[in-house]
Each structure stands twice: as structure tokens, then as C-alpha cells.
């Protein structure tokens, strides 16, 4: 893979880092847009599989970018993607954390916190919608997605059990 891919990973993911309001999941739609639609580094199904791998593994979900970087440009890609996605937001957090205490109770602070909530919700729902369309191509697959969502909402079962069950459904050749 060329240096171009590394440069693109670095620039795209640095931008993602600074717009990931509400955490890693909210930039899932934009990551999908960049990786699948703009650069064509992989298919939507591959993207969904790497995302599943990152969710099943220990550690922050954002490490899906390490897998994407690995797939696009090997070890260098993984390192570049991980640093790019964490670096800018870490620097910002570091800078802001020092002055944050001063604004405790400020009216605009509460407004910014509350104002971001609906946008975050919309982004998470958009991420769920897009990753479902990428992951599923048959009605049993959609049923598996729906059943997993229902179990997560209605029970306190650990998601890894659901992943295991879904893996068995996959092995059985039903999806």
C-alpha cells in the first residue's frame, strides 16, 4: 500500500477525532462514508465485520480504526490510524480539563451539554441503521440484529453471549 493511503488515514481520522462528539460510536456513519464510500478501501460487509471484531474484543470500541488501518496499510496503517483518531481529541481534552472546573454551574455549560444530547442520539441511531444495512443481506440476518437489540434492551445479559449465539447461528448457515 502506498504512502497516499497513510496520509489519507491520518487526515480523515484526525478530523474524525475532533468531531466524535459523544464518543466513538457517533462517528460510525462518517467512518463508513470515508472508508467504504469515499476511498473504497473495503466493502460495507467487510467494514461491518471489522466493527464486529472490535466490539467483541476487549478495549475501547474506537480501536476499530486500528483494524481498518491494518487492513488498508498494515502495521504502519494501524499505528497511524490509532494515533490520528486519539491524538487531536486527547490534546483538546488535556487543554480543556485544566479550565473546566472554573465553569461549573455556568449556564452555557449546561446548554452545551444538553444541546449535544439530541445530536448524539441521532448519530447513534444513524450508526445503527447504516451498520445494519452493511452487515445484513438476508431476512434471518435482520432478525438476528433485531433479536440482539431486543435482548440488550430488555435484559442485562452480557453482549458477548449474544455475539456467541449469533456466531452459532452464522455457523449453522442461517444468515
Amino acid at each position: 500500500m502506498s504512502e497516499d493511503a497513510l496520509v489519507q488515514l491520518a487526515t480523515d481520522f484526525s478530523v474524525l477525532s475532533l468531531i466524535a462528539v459523544g464518543g466513538a460510536i457517533t462517528v460510525l456513519p462518517e467512518m463508513h462514508r470515508s472508508v467504504v464510500e469515499v476511498h473504497g478501501w473495503m466493502s460495507g460487509a467487510q467494514f461491518a465485520e471489522l466493527f464486529a471484531l472490535a466490539q467483541a474484543a476487549p478495549g475501547p470500541n474506537i480501536l476499530v480504526v486500528s483494524l481498518i488501518g491494518w487492513k488498508v496499510a498494515g502495521l504502519a496503517g494501524a499505528v497511524v490510524a490509532t494515533v490520528a483518531v486519539c491524538g487531536p481529541s486527547c490534546v483538546l481534552t488535556f487543554a480543556v480539563s485544566r479550565m473546566w472546573q472554573r465553569f461549573r454551574g455556568a449556564r452555557w455549560r449546561a446548554a452545551v451539554e444538553d444541546g449535544l444530547v439530541p445530536v448524539t442520539v441521532g448519530l447513534m441511531l444513524a450508526g445503527g441503521y447504516l451498520i445494519t444495512l452493511s452487515a445484513d443481506d438476508s431476512w434471518p440476518a435482520f432478525a438476528t440484529t433485531a433479536a440482539t437489540a431486543a435482548f440488550v434492551l430488555a435484559t442485562r445479559i452480557h453482549p458477548l453471549w449474544l455475539f456467541g449465539a449469533a456466531g452459532l447461528i452464522g455457523l449453522a448457515g442461517w444468515v
Binding site: 462528539v21 464486529a52 471484531l53 474484543a57 445530536v119 441521532g122
Partner: protein, 153 residues
């Protein structure tokens, strides 16, 4: 995050419960993975830049290498029919997990009914119209914050 809270507040006593809540609210507000931000905040609080870097490295290094190992296995064996069948199931479940997280947040008390309009707008703009996120956020976030301020009057 529950594990992080237990370690920071209950086991190591690096933060009080209130301090943790305050740090967390900041870290959810700022861009970037929340757990990474919490690590940076706590590290910075005790040892400045070096503390922040140490906390970040500590949090990310082991999972990063696990991820690489999994990625290598996936590239090696991902094309085998059995493995790809397994993954079709797992990725359907992973998608379900995201859907559930979105729905859970959508029904939480923090989303006030009138403000749900912005959630719907965001879904349409990002999921259906596929607008670039930067452009969308530059328009939507100031509007949403302004609406919150206006409603609070």
C-alpha cells in the same frame, strides 16, 4: 466505563464520586472516545503531560496489540467459508448492539421531547442524506445549543 469508575473511585481513590461525575461529563462533551478522555484527564490531574501520556498508553497498548492479533487472524482465515459464516452472524449481532444503544439513549430522560426534533434531523441528514459529518455538525450543534438556551429562558 463502570469498570473504570470502580477502579478510579472505589479501589484507588484517585477521584471522589463527584469528581468522577464532573470529569465524565466533560469527557462526554469533548470529542473523542470517552474512556480515552477520562484517562487523559486523570493522568493530567496528577502528573501533567507525562501523566496524560502514561494513562493513554496504559489504556490503549494492550487492546491495540490484541486487536492487531485478531486482525492478523482475520486476514489469514477470514475468507474460509466457516469463518465468514461465523462473522456474518457476529456482525449482525454487533449491529443490533449499536441499534440498542441508540434506542436506549433515545428513550432516556436526557432527551427532552421538543429537542427530539434535532435527533430526527440528525438521523435524516446523516443516515438518509449521507451529509458529511463536519458540515452537518457545524450547522446542527449551534442550532441545538441555541434552542436549549432559548427553552431554558
Amino acid at each position: 466505563m463502570p469498570f473504570a469508575r470502580r477502579m478510579l473511585v472505589e479501589e484507588r481513590h484517585w477521584l471522589s464520586a463527584e469528581e468522577f461525575t464532573d470529569v465524565l461529563s466533560l469527557c462526554q462533551l469533548l470529542p473523542g472516545p470517552n474512556i480515552v478522555n477520562v484517562a487523559v484527564c486523570v493522568g493530567a490531574r496528577y502528573h501533567g503531560v507525562r501523566g496524560a501520556i502514561a494513562a493513554f498508553a496504559g489504556l490503549i497498548t494492550a487492546p491495540f496489540f490484541i486487536m492487531l492479533a485478531l486482525g492478523a487472524l482475520y486476514t489469514q482465515y477470514g475468507h474460509l467459508p466457516t469463518v465468514s459464516a461465523l462473522f456474518r452472524g457476529i456482525s449482525a449481532a454487533a449491529a443490533g448492539l449499536v441499534v440498542a444503544m441508540g434506542l436506549k439513549m433515545a428513550t432516556s430522560r436526557r432527551l427532552r421531547s421538543a429537542m427530539a426534533l434535532f435527533a430526527v434531523m440528525t438521523f435524516i441528514g446523516i443516515a438518509l442524506m449521507r451529509l458529511p459529518l463536519v458540515v452537518f455538525l457545524l450547522g446542527a450543534v449551534p442550532l441545538s445549543v441555541a434552542a436549549t438556551l432559548w427553552r431554558a429562558k
